[in-house]
Symmetry: C2
Subunit: 358 residues, 2 copies
């Protein structure tokens, strides 16, 4: 019950152990097609360019930035936690110039600050922000931020590593241009894959680049020939076959439950956790309206030893909860209720274990 | 029995299905330490900077090039197959200038050509070549090529994706500076991880870079803090936990058999395959002295339909053999005898199946 990887179901674990077959085997190609369709469902998009990057979420982030940014591009990055900082690193390493819009850690991205930055930087071509900040448990209003960016003719890159399938997200309806996520949060597949999706606006910017993408491994102009819809599959790299078995199974499970039901389950269990912690006097970091149901950042009570409590939870109860990151290190705990792990039983177990060690 | 991924043993598949735990869990960190020690064994090195990149072999290649090359660096690339061409792409995307030394596809890299190139390009700082070309089944004399490069004060990057654990390789003895491999060939773990190792000479070049590595995900100055020996493990990215379970188990199996025994087994089964194919009049592409035991490229007999035969092998015998790549497409088959799949039974099955469909 940390910030991810979340618990993986036996069904998905069993899928991981299926015999490894070739990445160009016709049966495997069929499964890749199914993964694409299932990812379109969880992203709520018809984007053709929807697939899983063969590496963890950080590589999915890099895939978006490396393909969309050309040297000299001005990119507005809204930062309200650790991962906005990583976005800045990506922009600069791609040769772009990052214009930072800062919000407090634990607060949602403020649309008025973004609007101000867009007005002051008329040459900006991209806006990037994190929908669900894993470091603080806050969610931002992605729909409004994207609409603002589009008013100023900017393409949007949105981090949904922690939100995908845990909280409402509509890629097409919200008109998100480029998006990445991770397999190991609310999808409850093992870590190692990063679902991504690009709309036609983003794909066009990639196809018409003046310079080559700095990464061969992540160059979508090449990767598209392997995952892509048109014609023959060309070998690009060796896909992580067994990880894709796991992701496929986890996506089938999301489809069986239904996205809306999964969102409701995450919300219900979050409220149950809130009630239990509130009764113990433990406070949430994020204000009520902006809390992520799947990642609950709470203040460590005064006088309590962070590391000692987390170690005892792990050793005595086999329960992992997350430490604070960056400026919140030592000040907060992060309790994950993600995907397969978001159950009333886990909520009750977490509360009783915490009560016991405190 | 294609060019990889190779067959994965039940033991390794079962390991893939172990419960996913956190990438910062103390038990997981212990396993990472063991993986490091086991990789040092299979690479035959004491290099501290030895670990598995969290993505397939192509990303391991990119990790070496992106960290070692700075814009403007002159890099000599010896090409004798597909993967030398990919090296060139990497050099250029890193802002380096690639000096190509070409050999025929199916021939080993010619040391005299490399020496000539080194003399003519006194500003070259890196020499890169493929030890075992998966596209042609040829192995080059890595020890001699590295010695030559060092005489001209160049750092070496060596691709051992297909050679590691299938054919003799001594990183320290041969003084290889930077090396990468893949999990899915002779180690017989599922694809998705790329073992790498860097000696102090390479590490120093990385630590003293004038410019930042273009990739945040692959920047060794950051990754080292997660895998590295010194002090506290810092979170960098979420490691592909279950894939690392699989790699760990596969490395334990190599250690149990012993590297020398594994090399001998690969060689014995290669000779058995040679005898069988020779009796059918099927010829090898590579001359005898330079053949890789684990990847056997043979000429498609005159008048035989490449695709039809491979499809029948797959459908009637559940047997995959590899197609030719690049200039060898349609002209050769590639028969893999890698890791767990290198057995006399597989050799005999392959020969009888081929005889049947031909």
């Amino acid at each position: 019950m940390g910030p991810g990887p979340s618990d993986v179901s036996d069904r998905v674990l069993s899928a991981m152990a299926r015999p490894t077959i070739g990445h160009l085997d016709p049966s495997f190609i069929e499964m890749m097609d199914e993964i694409k369709t299932l990812l379109q469902y969880v992203f709520q998009t018809n984007n053709q360019l929807t697939f899983a990057v063969s590496a963890p979420g950080s590589a999915g982030m890099e895939c978006c930035f490396a393909n969309l940014i050309e040297p000299g591009d001005e990119v507005i990055v809204c930062q309200n936690g650790v991962f906005g900082g990583r976005m800045r690193e990506n922009v600069e390493r791609c040769g772009g110039s990052a214009i930072m819009v800062q919000d407090e850690w634990g607060s949602a991205v403020d649309p008025t600050k973004l609007e101000e930055a867009l007005k002051q930087n008329p040459n900006a071509v991209i806006v990037a922000f994190v929908h669900a900040e894993t470091s603080t448990g806050v969610q931002s209003d992605a729909k409004s931020l994207v609409r603002l960016a589009h008013e100023f003719d900017c393409i949007t890159i949105v981090d949904t590593v922690t939100s995908l399938s845990g909280t409402p997200l509509f890629v097409d309806d919200w008109e998100i241009d480029a998006i990445y996520s991770g397999s190991q949060k609310c999808l409850s597949a093992p870590p190692g894959l990063s679902p991504v999706s690009f709309n036609e606006r983003a794909a066009k910017k990639i196809r018409t680049r003046q310079t080559k993408v700095k990464s061969w491994f992540l160059d979508l102009n090449l990767v598209m020939n392997y995952w892509g819809g048109e014609g023959k599959r060309a070998y690009h790299h060796t896909a992580p076959v067994n990880c894709l078995y796991g992701l496929h199974e986890s996506l089938v499970m999301v489809q069986e439950e239904g996205l809306e039901a999964a969102w409701k389950r995450h919300r219900d269990n979050h409220l149950r956790l809130y009630d239990g912690l509130d009764a113990m006097g433990i406070e949430f970091v994020v204000n009520k309206a902006d809390r992520l149901p799947q990642l609950n950042a709470v203040s460590i009570p005064n006088g309590v030893d962070d590391m000692a409590i987390r170690s005892r939870l792990l050793e005595e109860f086999n329960l992992e909860i997350g430490a604070g990151l960056g400026t919140l290190a030592g000040k907060v705990w992060r309790i994950g209720l993600m995907g397969h792990a978001s159950t009333p039983e886990n909520v009750d177990f977490c509360i009783s274990s915490l009560r016991s060690v405190l």
